[in-house]
Point group: C2
């Protein structure tokens, strides 16, 4: 399964959320992670993030595509580098 995770998390929690996501997925852009992951690992990832987030303020969207072949990705401009991530 291929997932794209986008998030809008308060400054006070965003680094912790990023650290969790970075264990499971690839940072691609400000507030965006992507990658191939199993349902079990995604469940584990989201349970960890769930404990950090304040669900009244923060938001995290999980786009799932079962077969990665059904998704294509184009880039306009530069391809961000994981080192660009502010951790």
């Amino acid at each position: 399964m291929f997932v794209i995770i986008t998030y809008d998390v308060s400054e006070s929690r965003v680094n912790k959320v990023r650290k969790v996501l970075k264990k499971y997925l690839i940072w691609t852009q400000n507030s965006v992670f992507e990658g191939v992951i199993t349902e079990a690992k995604l469940y584990k990832c989201l349970s960890e993030v769930n404990r950090i987030m304040d669900k009244r303020e923060d938001s995290l969207y999980i786009y799932k595509v079962e077969n990665p072949k059904n998704l294509s990705k184009d880039v306009l401009g530069i391809c961000k580098n994981p080192e660009d991530m502010f951790l």
Copy 2:
């Protein structure tokens, strides 16, 4: 076709990019638009955005799923509201 567009654009250009994206897609979160769109309309949208972006600094990712049925979306936390967009 369903698309998710994520972007990392310099402050000086980001509002213009948002205004273009808002004509074609739905704002869902900070730096994220999504929606169903035709190939022709997506081409038009990206040509407009292309004229605004500085491709040495800015980055825009376009995730495409031909059949929207092949994509599912979950939300953790709050569902952001288009009015929350800083325009």
